[in-house]
């Protein structure tokens, strides 16, 4: 069965390059209801932890770091799902790999043993810059391999295959004894940066916050570019994109790789925040939760992942304080959102996007 839709005479064909479907960013204004909601979200996320820090509530600073990192991971996933229409059910693989890179690197730096000696010597490192670069590059490479196979398929196959590959890495980490296997691996000393003290809770939050803002800026910039227009078209109608002379497969693959690199970097930040890595970071439950966050916030919206992450972590904290079965209520809320409120928190707070 081919999906070829005949183009009626009334529909103007998009001329090459200037695709008629402009990305959603056209309506990105800093004023108006949407702009105000976005500024408030980002402003609160920045100011509340600073206030908490000076009032001495370190717990809330770390909570804000957690929200920020999870939001960043969701920004990565949103690029694949929301903008690219690629429903990846395996982004925990990149989050976990990023985490393991931070953990393994710190482990070897602490032990003064090399990570590998053949074919060339790779020592451990406790420098965040090295860890981050490694997380971005290796997660991108992993996504290149997984994406190259998975993107040959579509729909349900794609969902199940990304899930299956993530499970493969999960089981590998689970049964590989060198780095703790099932029990995970502690990071005794947080990886460091030149000049600043990363063990300070507020400093670390600001690092994470910068990461989140950068990830969102990259997404926004990307979606405003020619590449973004092509990606949007690959989601909406790939036959038409191909008619315009652009092959959808490489466009999707590049978006998938960037998406995974962002999520992987978030994973590295998360490992250093918690001082601990375990296969839980790789589990399919986490992939599901990331998807939930993207949907709760509003799929395909720049600030959606942030709104979703705030809501998710808050629910976890508040409901989790009342009952240990909080996930039951999370399930009910999620069911309600999927069945009845399709546009997520951002759709409810800031109005619908014009192209919805």
């Amino acid at each position: 069965m081919t999906n070829y839709t005949p183009v009626s005479k009334k529909t103007p064909m998009p001329s090459q390059g200037t695709a008629e479907v402009a990305p959603a960013t056209q309506v990105d204004s800093h004023f108006g209801r949407k702009g105000i909601v976005q500024m408030i979200l980002l402003g609160l996320l920045l100011l509340l932890p600073i206030a908490a820090y000076f009032l001495g509530h370190l717990y809330y600073v770390n909570l804000a770091s957690r929200i920020t990192i999870i939001a960043m991971a969701a920004v990565g996933l949103n690029l694949a799902i929301g903008y690219g229409g690629m429903v990846s059910f395996g982004h925990a693989a990149y989050f976990g790999l990023g985490g393991y890179i931070a953990g393994i690197s710190a482990y070897h730096a602490f032990d003064m043993t090399p990570f590998m000696t053949w074919p060339f010597n790779v020592p451990g490192s406790d420098s965040l810059l090295v860890v981050w670069l490694a997380a971005i590059v290796l997660c991108g490479l992993l996504a290149l391999a997984i994406g190259a196979i998975s993107l040959r398929t579509t729909g349900v196959y794609f969902i199940m295959i990304t899930l299956a590959f993530a499970q493969m890495i999960y089981y590998f980490a689970n049964s590989w004894p060198t780095y703790g296997g099932e029990d995970g691996l502690p990071i005794y000393l947080r990886n460091s940066l030149p000049i600043v003290d990363t063990t300070n809770a507020l400093t670390y939050f600001l690092i994470c916050f910068t990461g989140l803002v950068l990830a969102m800026a990259i997404t926004s910039r990307l979606m405003k570019s020619r590449f973004g227009a092509a990606l949007t078209m690959a989601r909406l109608n790939d036959v038409r994109l191909a008619t315009a002379g652009i092959s959808p497969y490489p466009i999707r693959l590049v978006a998938f790789v960037i998406s995974a690199a962002i999520t992987g970097l978030a994973g590295a930040l998360y490992a250093d925040l918690n001082g601990f890595i375990s296969p839980t970071m790789l589990s399919w439950h986490f992939s599901g939760e990331l998807m939930v966050i993207v949907i709760l916030g509003g799929v395909g919206r720049l600030y959606g992942p942030l709104a979703g992450a705030i809501l998710f972590v808050m629910m976890e904290m508040l409901l989790g304080g009342i009952t240990e079965y909080w996930q039951l209520f999370l399930g009910l809320v999620l069911l309600g959102v999927v069945l009845f409120a399709k546009h997520g928190v951002m759709g409810w707070l800031a109005g619908r996007e014009r192209n919805e």
Partner: protein, 306 residues
């Protein structure tokens, strides 16, 4: 590395395969007929196991328990279809994934709430314990042999149901053209509920039977669900024949990999390292198999929907 071990592990692989088939056939049927991806299928597996364990414990009869388990899974399946799934048929796959993910959370936490976190114990009835000596001298547990028997009988029954009965005709018609059979006067809504309940009952049966081998606990359906996904992706989503072939392939490859890979690595590695490497590789083996198959056949081996 004896022949006895090989035969025993092959049988274990076939046994895992038949149980996977019970899961995968329901999944693939639901996808084939309704076009729905159902993550909550593992929850029906769990419901079947819990109902069987609870009823067996109170009545003392495994068979009554098994009947209760299958019935409970079918009823829960029908109820879920009526309340939730029905609203999802025309939704994108993303919505289906999320809604059924939400169902997993609800079922898992609900079960934990009712039965507690500690596992329930379910043992096979006394007339199914013990060993059978197979021709060639292999001694094999009777219960596992019975599982293979049940799996084979269910496969045949399912084949007959789909190829020989009126319901089966409607299912096949539903797979090829949903709108047309509605136009021809078949009550589609009821057909969908029946197919969904049938799939849930098969999953519940698998959960109950495997529950007597392992422990009955919250989350027991999830690893099986993911294996069943691998099975139907390999076999071709929507194809029962593919599900059967994929299930046996995954069952045998996974079981043999776990036994023989560590032995293989022991030939040129120190034993402790060989065990670790072998186990890690064995855990990845079926996914690698899936990747290789998909690299050549992106729609699986027996694709029903081209």
């Amino acid at each position: 590395m004896s022949v006895t071990l090989l035969i025993e592990q092959l049988l274990n692989g076939v046994q895992l395969g038949t149980m996977l088939f019970l899961m995968a056939s329901g999944l693939t049927l639901i996808f084939g007929v309704m076009g729905l991806i159902n993550l909550a299928h593992g929850s029906f597996y769990m419901v079947g196991a819990y109902a069987t364990a609870a009823v067996t414990a109170s009545t003392g009869s495994f068979l009554i328990g098994l009947g209760a388990g299958i019935t409970a899974a079918a009823l829960v399946g029908a109820l879920v279809e009526l309340l939730v799934i029905r609203r999802l048929y025309h939704r994108p796959h993303l919505d289906q994934v999320l809604a059924t993910f939400a169902l997993i959370l609800i079922f898992s936490e609900g079960t934990r709430w009712i039965f507690g976190s500690s596992p329930l114990w379910l043992s096979p009835p006394s007339w199914l314990t013990g060993f059978v000596t197979l021709p060639g001298g292999t001694r094999y547990p009777l219960y596992r042999l019975m599982l293979i028997g049940v799996g084979v009988s269910i496969s045949i029954a399912l084949y007959l149901l789909i190829s020989r009965t009126r319901l089966g005709m409607r299912i096949r018609a539903g797979e090829s053209d949903r709108e047309m059979i509605g136009a021809l006067g078949v009550n589609i809504a009821r057909l969908y509920t029946v197919v969904f309940a049938l799939g849930a009952a098969l999953a519940g049966l698998a959960g109950a039977l495997v529950g007597a081998l392992q422990s009955v606990q919250v989350g027991m359906g999830e690893p099986v669900l993911i294996l069943a996904f691998v099975v139907i992706v390999i076999g071709g989503i929507g194809s029962i024949k593919g599900a059967l072939f994929g299930a046996l392939l995954v069952g045998v490859v996974d079981t043999l990999g776990r036994v023989y890979l560590p032995i293989f690595f022991r030939a040129f590695m120190p034993p402790s390292e060989a065990t670790g490497t072998g186990a890690a590789l064995a855990a990845m083996l079926i996914y690698i198999l899936m990747a290789v198959i998909l690299a050549f056949k992106p729609k699986g081996l027996f694709s029903a929907h081209d």
